[in-house]
């Protein structure tokens, strides 16, 4: 049998690595209709909110770029859920056993998932962010000038808002690897990142700047720092765009590292 001959010839050299596993994960993600629905709704939702905010903008002195990107924060939720499901759906279905039997060096599996999910959510996030920016600008009423990418901080805000999708997606993937159950992991993501973080931010001003969603809303997607009325004591001192990006990367990296460690240690 020719395939036997080729397979055994190939089996003698080399070993599976990130390239093969990444291709597997791309084929897995691509072959599910739910992936494309989730991403389509993410983009459509993000853009619609940007348009709605554009149509209702009356104050030309606000951060119009930040307004046009108002749909990013709700949109992130779906990117995060996609990240969670990329991992937990394998446990729900039992596919994880097939995956880990094919690739017993488990951290490679999570690395490949992160590469594929990260690339897809980055591409989709940037598309959503840029289209929102232009659509939100185009729908501004007469007399209000739309922001341009050439203005200070605008291109940075639009680009970094797009990276938010990728980083929250990766945070979701890490949580999925840690928690393994779809409903529980999504609950932790939504409850922790959206609800609890907002609550902590409201109660403890000093911590607000470090809450993921507030980083996306107030550090990544703004062109200028939030003006603070009533003195520094009442206002959160938000991180700069790049510091915010760094903190968000750290969250995703920690979740993935803990997820990889647990994945390697636990029985599948």
């Amino acid at each position: 049998m020719t395939t036997t001959a080729t397979a055994s010839a190939r089996a003698r050299r080399g070993r599976y690595g990130l390239a093969q596993v990444t291709l597997m994960e791309w084929l897995k993600l691509r072959s599910l209709r739910s992936t494309w629905w989730t991403l389509a709704i993410t983009v459509a939702g993000t853009i619609s909110i940007g348009i709605a905010v554009g149509l209702n903008t009356r104050n030309a002195s606000g951060d119009l770029t930040n307004n046009a990107l108002a749909g990013v924060v709700p949109g992130l939720l779906l990117a995060g859920a996609l990240g969670v499901l990329t991992m937990t759906s394998e446990y729900t279905s039992g596919m994880i056993r097939a995956t880990l039997a094919a690739i017993p060096r488990r951290p490679v599996v999570l690395a490949a998932k992160a590469a594929v999910l990260g690339a897809v959510t980055l591409a989709v996030g940037e598309a959503a962010s840029f289209v929102s920016f232009f659509a939100g600008g185009a729908t501004l009423r007469r007399g209000i000038t739309a922001p341009a990418l050439s203005q200070p901080g605008v291109l940075r805000a639009v680009l970094l808002a797009g990276t938010g999708f990728c980083l929250i997606g990766l945070l979701g993937l890490g949580l999925g690897a840690i928690i393994r159950h779809s409903a529980a992991a999504i609950a932790v993501l939504v409850g922790g990142v959206y609800v609890l973080a907002q609550f902590i931010g409201a109660v403890w001003r000093g911590a607000a700047a470090y809450m993921p969603i507030l980083i996306v809303a107030n550090s990544l997607s703004t062109t200028k720092p939030e003006p603070c009325q009533g003195g520094a004591a009442q206002c959160p001192h938000f991180l700069s765009a790049w510091a915010g990006l760094g903190v968000l990367c750290a969250y995703a990296a920690v979740a993935l590292a803990v997820g990889a460690w647990l994945l390697a240690r636990r029985d599948a």
Binding site: T3, A7, A101, P104, R105
Partner: protein, 243 residues
């Protein structure tokens, strides 16, 4: 070749697999028998590196499973009937796994043909009957054309035609010189399929023998099995050991 040495696995206070040692040799079908809950599936998971043993070790094709260079091309496994995402097609499922071990894409259609799923290759696997799901599991196991095959209860959910198909498939794979290790709690099926038997009860080895040898001392293989495993039920697990 599968070599288990003093394999032990505990889940909390329960000892699922208890100092289990056996060899599964190439060239014949080896049945893995034991009552429900005797540790067959746990042993299979230990062989595949899915669970980590608390003590002992198991080698497949001369290595620990985690050291295999292209695992799917050396070991094929059917562990549970529905180890696939219900939203993915049979072809999509196999294509992804093939990619992970650099198995040529043409092999996907080959194994779909072999298990009789070519016509259903594009359908969502979640809609498959249990019998079709088992066939997809067998296709997954055969994907890498491996020298070692592990199948956990492969005839579950199959109709009589499917049962016969599995039986003949396993025999022909063994005749090609492969190592075929099949767990079952259906003694009559093992009597027809297997040449060698590994029998366990309460996680311990009760017999490592041939079908002929085991049934020689009793009226039937079934009687011999009950005699052997009754010891396990009565907490005298080593009593029936013969090797």
């Amino acid at each position: 070749m599968i070599e288990a040495r003093d394999l032990t696995k505990r889940y909390g206070p329960t000892v699922a697999v208890d100092a289990l040692s056996f060899d599964v040799r190439p060239g014949s079908v080896t049945g893995f028998l034991g009552p429900n809950g005797s540790g067959k599936s746990t042993t299979m998971r230990l062989i595949l590196g899915l669970d980590r043993p608390d003590a002992g070790q198991v080698r497949v094709a001369g290595r620990g499973y985690r050291e295999l260079r292209w695992p799917l091309r050396e070991v094929g496994a059917l562990l549970e009937a529905r180890a696939f995402h219900p939203g993915r097609s049979a072809r999509g499922h196999l294509a992804a796994l093939a990619a992970s071990n650099a198995i040529p894409r043409t092999r996907v259609d080959e194994v779909l043909d072999m298990v009789g799923l070519a016509g259903a290759a594009r359908r969502r696997a979640g809609k498959f009957s249990l019998g079709m799901a088992q066939r997809l599991g067998v296709a997954t196991a055969l994907l890498g054309d491996p020298a070692v095959l592990l199948l956990d209860e492969p005839v579950n959910g199959l109709d009589p035609e499917g049962v016969r198909w599995i039986r003949n498939l396993l025999k022909s794979l063994a005749a090609q010189g492969r190592t075929v290790f099949v767990s079952s709690h259906l003694i009559s099926e093992m009597a027809l399929t297997a040449e060698r038997l590994v029998v366990i009860g309460r996680g311990r080895l009760l017999a490592d023998t041939t079908v002929a040898e085991l049934s020689a001392g009793a009226a039937s293989l079934e009687d011999a099995f009950f005699e052997l495993t009754s010891g396990a039920v009565e907490y005298r697990p080593t009593q029936g050991r013969m090797s």
